[in-house]
């Protein structure tokens, strides 16, 4: 590998790479992110390689395994360039046809295209699919274009030009000013102004400073940092080096979960490549600036994503938060000034440098600039990673990009900000999403998790679910968080299992208030959010659970019973045969009856009862009517 010694040499190298690449040469890109990998992209890749060889196209067609495209719901995704034809949910058996038809014959295969659910029209190009069309993919956009293991792919797209710019044209103070001016706020959860953080770290006394990438993403259902680090590791590295230069740091760490094997692998490769090119190490691009970076693999504790806990873990100790009365930018890892930012924050930095703070400020809302990647999951049609400008409304994200609620159900709420975020009810569906609005609504941005819930979601059970997660993932160091969450969980469990008592809601609120104010770290301080926000918007559900022993969404098993309506039952035997515990009695021409003592409330009968009968009902808060005595004969209606 040639070492690059100056920005000019970098530009030359880039030109060289581009000149070797024919933009009109067919290229098959296959999403190989974790989600597509799980959907079988590896087998698809093998069959693409085999088929290219088989059909004798090795010299004419490029094949590239890229990072996550975001539309994980429909993976594995194949995009054929230069046309941009997008095929979804590809299996190995589709490959021979794709190669022979699309590559050779330039024909589009209709059945593999995306069908717009509203218009029923087939959509050929990736960019026209509503899921993508309504996004603004500034940070995440390159993921689908490059092979994360190839630094040349990143360079071809203009990679490391921002680094070259700062090292050759901008003194560190100017970089700081630019980032401050951009009003970039930390994407990891807190939303602290990045430029201010950098400045505090730069001004902290001491010789040694550290810069850290927080890739210890732990929220259930959130994977944007993972996909970014997996799919475009160089963008994160470039941001980190720029930040280190601005702060005056010569040593950086990437703290990434061990459970993210592709991220670890790809970032390791990226570091090696950057070192070989002289983009890391001594005298970067001939500027005299030295910077090295090490990867630290985290052991999977959610709490280690909290900055002070992460730093403790980085020191080789158990990841537990420590007091931050003296900020980590002054006294962080090994008591040295340490600047920690989230993956997405770092990856945004090169864009700001290249396009300018003013450009960045033009995107987003007053208080929150730029775009944000959300992990859109739950009961939404198009699950995946979406990047939108700050200020987009929930409705636009969930309905325009997410394609609305699954199975035609009704939207109930969306949970944002991870387990310690809050729920936002339907009445705020037109809420523009940014740091401040979410906080005002009783939730938070967090790292960008967005779990969509439909009408079949019980909010008490949701709160219980998140508290259960937090009870296990709290480090357990401080009493309010450890004991407080545990006891709130006990109360919620009691409520969902029919043992709720009058006064439980007030006690929950009392504990929540203390946990919020007295906990050691942000995890504890935000842990009551699931309880408080569900109480704020769905208090009636709590009351129904406690006072009427009724779960309005029919989710809490101890509070519901299954009942076959004798008026509707057609004695079709389907539920009777499917019941795994044999709780349904009856027969041909005999109305079916559920033995309540045997029923395990597995929901099977409810699911299998033909919709035209809809005889199985879920009851909650009311007694199950006794079985009909004499009417055991079936009444057949025309």
């Amino acid at each position: 590998m040639p070492r690059i010694n100056s920005p000019a040499e970098l530009e030359e190298l880039r030109k060289g790479i581009l000149s070797n690449r024919d933009p009109n040469r067919p290229c098959i890109t296959l999403c190989s992110g974790t989600a597509c990998h799980a959907s079988g992209s590896e087998e698809v890749a093998a069959s693409i390689e085999e088929e290219i060889k088989k059909q004798g196209l090795s010299a004419e067609v490029d094949f590239r395994k890229t990072g996550c495209h975001g539309f994980c719901e429909r993976g594995p995704i194949v995009v054929i360039h230069p046309e941009g034809i997008c095929y979804l949910q590809i299996e190995p058996k589709d490959i021979p046809e794709i190669i022979s038809q699309t590559i050779k014959e330039k024909k589009v295969i209709e059945r593999l295209l995306y069908t717009d659910p509203t218009t029923n029209k087939k959509i050929v190009h990736e960019s026209e699919i509503p899921f993508y069309k309504n996004q603004e993919r500034l940070v995440f956009g390159s993921n689908g274009k490059i092979d994360p293991k190839s630094i040349d792919d990143y360079l071809a797209l203009g990679g490391y030009s921002a680094l070259a710019k700062v090292l050759s044209q901008m003194p560190p103070e100017q970089v700081l000013e630019e980032v401050k001016k951009s009003n970039l706020r930390g994407r990891g959860g807190g939303g602290f102004p990045t430029g201010r953080k950098w400045e505090e770290c730069r001004n902290a006394p001491g010789e040694i400073r550290y810069v850290i990438v927080n890739a210890d993403e732990g929220d259930p259902g959130a994977y944007m940092d993972r996909s970014l680090l997996e799919g475009n590791p160089h963008s994160v590295l470039e941001g980190l080096i720029i930040g280190a230069y601005a702060i005056g740091s010569h040593e950086g760490y990437i703290y990434v979960r061990q459970e993210y094997p592709f991220a670890v692998e790809n970032v390791d490769i990226a570091i090696k490549q950057a070192e070989e090119y002289g983009l890391l190490g001594k005298n970067i691009l001939g500027s005299g600036f030295d910077f090295t970076v090490k990867v630290h693999r985290g052991a999977g504790a959610f709490v280690s994503g909290e900055s002070s806990a992460l730093m403790t873990a980085l020191e080789g100790r158990v990841g537990e938060p420590r007091p931050k009365y003296i900020h980590t930018v002054i006294k962080g890892v090994w008591d040295k000034p340490s600047n920690l930012n989230n993956v997405e924050t770092w990856a945004t930095v090169p864009l700001i440098i290249n396009k300018g703070a003013d450009w960045f400020r033009g995107i987003g809302t007053e208080g929150s600039k730029g775009t944000k990647i959300f992990s859109l999951v739950g009961k939404v049609n198009n699950t995946g990673l979406v990047e939108v400008p700050m200020g987009m409304t929930l409705r636009e994200i969930i309905f325009n990009i997410g394609g609305g609620i699954r199975d035609g159900k009704k939207f109930k709420a969306v949970q944002t900000g991870g387990p310690s975020g809050g729920v936002i009810p339907e009445k705020y569906i037109d809420l523009p999403i940014d740091f401040d609005e979410l906080t005002k609504a009783g939730s938070m941005m967090g790292s960008g998790g967005m779990i969509v819930m439909d009408e079949d979601t019980c909010m008490v059970d949701t709160a219980r679910y998140f508290l259960n997660f937090l009870a296990h993932e709290s480090c357990g160091k401080c009493v309010p968080c450890r004991e407080g969450i545990k006891q709130m969980l006990n109360i919620l469990t009691d409520i969902t299992e029919g043992r709720g008592e009058k006064g439980d809601i007030e006690l929950l609120e009392e504990v929540a208030a203390m946990v919020k104010d007295f906990s050691l770290c942000a995890l504890g301080a935000t842990a009551p959010n699931p309880v408080l926000s569900t109480l704020q918007y769905f208090r009636d559900e709590y009351v129904a659970h406690i006072e009427q022993k009724r779960c309005p969404a029919h989710v809490c098993k101890p509070l519901i019973s299954y009942y076959i309506d004798p008026e509707k039952c057609q004695a079709c035997m389907i539920c009777l045969r499917q019941c795994p515990v044999g709780a349904i009695s009856g027969g041909k021409n005999q109305i079916h009856v559920i033995d309540q003592a045997k029923c395990t409330k597995c929901n099977t009968c409810f699911e299998v009862c033909p919709p035209r009968f809809s005889a199985v009902r879920r009851l909650s808060g009311e007694p199950v009517p006794p079985p009909v005595k004499d009417r055991v004969l079936v009444r057949r209606k025309g």
Binding site: A301, V303, V318, E320, R322, P323, Y325, I326, L470, A471, H472, E473, S474, C475, G476, K477, C478, V479, P480, R482, E483, G484, I485, K486, Q487, N490, I491, G503, L507, E510, V511, M514, D517, F518, S519, L520
Partner: protein, 506 residues
């Protein structure tokens, strides 16, 4: 110095100190469960939370680790603080309902019955044990394991720690009694036996040797102190409010020129285990007279109760054996001269404490030499039911049943019959020997010793305290066995002789 106010009181504090330290120094009480002056603040119990106003902003912070700053206003008992503490204590009481410390603290905040699901734990997870082991002992034999609901104090892999040195700092620092050393190590901690209590009790590595010690200040036993063994610990330094702990003090040799020397180095006790037939160290309920003295003393390890070693029961049948090592061709030929009388006194004391107790004294010859000593013996026999048996027991064995009663085998010399007596406990009145330092001193001064290692007095008749060298005098037990009154007489004599000698010199 930084100026701040705590509960409206203006105080000064050194920069870099924490609110809690400053409050305590000013006699303002803030409750804590995880703070220890010898450890880094941990901020886990959150009980020490106070409300501060800093740069116009009100905040709740933990006082144990919030550094003081100029103009800081601290309220240690604002409504928000009290409310939060009450909830924390309610939660802790639900976790540890049977821990007195938590019960009391909760009660002081008006919490008696938690509204939560009750558990029955003893550990409040304050981490003092693990932190002292790491920060001070430098071992980390135990630490937190698991997180959230699974968090607990444990050894690595839940097995007995190999590195635990059994120092017991964790047990010492645990505020709830939750730490059991046997859970951590299979090593048996060896107590540091108290020399003053004749090994019956234990003492700390830092201790006052005995109540009348001069000077009466604690000393550090360097042979067992963790700090001197490993370089770590130094906990006493943080605990001593007077700042009196000094690890650098060394023994000093002071050279002084003198005109006369009086030797009064006293006696040691002969090791009774060398008189093998009496089973000291093997037969559990055989003790020495010195151990007995400590036991019967109101300020001793048992506070005056007689408790025999095998089972702690009060012995109701007691045997004293005289001449253990004295007047014995295998050990010391001389009579130690005080044992007949102290055994009699001790037997009387036992009877005074326990009127039903029977004491037997096995003696060779009754040597009640002194004014009214014989009457004292008679009183013991008549008023205290002490039985004197003229016999030198041949051996002492142990009855394996019956609480390991010792059996004294002896010849009833008046009837010339061989017999035995099973008693509850035996007290050996061992021989007295010149103190170990007598030999060193005599060598240093070129004085000779007699056959029994006493300082040689050439003219016992006319110069009973003069040694071989003019100007050097010896008094008390270092020159011959004698009791306290005789020693006092000799001491006066030696003082006079020294004065006489020095005045002649001038």
């Amino acid at each position: 110095m930084v100026n701040l106010t705590i509960d409206g009181k203006a105080v000064k504090a050194e920069e870099g100190t924490y609110i809690l330290q400053v409050a305590r120094a000013n006699n303002i009480d803030i409750p804590t469960l995880c703070y220890h002056p010898a450890l880094e603040p941990f901020g886990a119990c959150r009980l020490c939370t106070v409300e501060i106003t800093s740069r116009g902003r009100k905040r709740l912070v933990t006082s144990c680790n919030y550094p003081v700053e100029e103009g800081l206003e601290v309220s240690t008992n604002s409504e928000a603080v009290i409310k939060g503490r009450r909830m924390i204590l309610e939660l802790l009481l639900a976790r540890c309902p049977n821990v007195p410390l938590i019960q009391e603290l909760a009660k002081s905040y008006g919490v008696e019955k938690p509204r939560f699901k009750m558990e029955n734990d003893n550990c409040i997870l304050c981490g003092l044990c693990a932190r002292i082991c790491e920060e001070r002992i430098g071992v980390s034999a135990i630490s937190f394991s698991g997180r959230g609901l699974e968090r607990k104090i444990d050894t690595p892999f839940h097995i007995h720690s190999e590195i635990c040195q059994g120092c017991g700092a964790c047990v010492f620092v645990c505020p709830t009694g939750a730490i059991k050393l046997e859970d951590i190590t299979d090593k048996q901690p060896r107590p540091i036996l108290s020399e003053f209590d004749a090994g019956l009790g234990s003492r700390a590595a830092i201790y006052v040797p005995f109540p009348q010690a001069v000077p009466k200040v604690p000393v550090i036993d360097r042979d067992v102190c963790i700090h001197f063994l490993t370089g770590n610990c130094r906990i006493c330094e943080n605990s001593c409010q007077a700042g009196a702990i000094n690890y650098d003090q060394e023994d000093e040799i002071i050279e002084t020129e003198v005109d006369a020397i009086i030797l009064a180095s006293g006696f040691d006790l002969y090791d009774p285990s060398r008189v093998e037939e009496y089973g000291y160290g093997k037969v559990k309920n055989v003790i020495t007279a010195m151990q007995y003295e400590r036991m019967i003393s109101a300020s001793g390890p048992t506070e005056g109760r007689l408790e025999r070693p095998s089972d702690g029961k009060t012995p109701m049948k007691l045997a004293f054996i005289q001449c253990v090592g004295s007047r014995d061709i295998h050990h010391k030929l001389y009579c130690s001269s005080v044992c007949c009388m102290h055994a009699t006194k001790e037997a009387m004391l036992a009877n005074e404490h326990y009127p039903d107790l029977k004491a037997f004294i096995f003696y060779t010859d009754m040597r009640a030499v002194g004014k009214r000593f014989q009457e004292y013996i008679a009183r013991a026999e008549q008023e205290y039911k002490v039985t004197y048996i003229r016999s030198r027991p041949s051996k002492i064995t142990e009855n394996p049943d019956n609480g390991r009663n010792p059996i004294v085998w002896y010849e009833e010399t008046t009837t010339r019959t061989r017999t035995s007596m099973e008693v509850d406990m035996v007290v050996l009145c061992q021989a007295l020997i010149p103190s170990g330092s007598a030999k060193g001193i005599s060598d240093m001064l070129h004085l000779s010793l007699n056959d029994y290692q006493f300082i040689n007095i050439p003219d016992r008749l006319f110069h009973p305290v003069d040694t071989e060298i003019p100007g050097i005098f010896a008094c008390g037990f270092c020159q011959a066995p004698q009791d306290i009154p005789d020693s006092v007489v000799q001491a006066s004599a030696a003082a006079s002789r020294a004065a006489e000698f020095m005045s002649k010199e001038e």
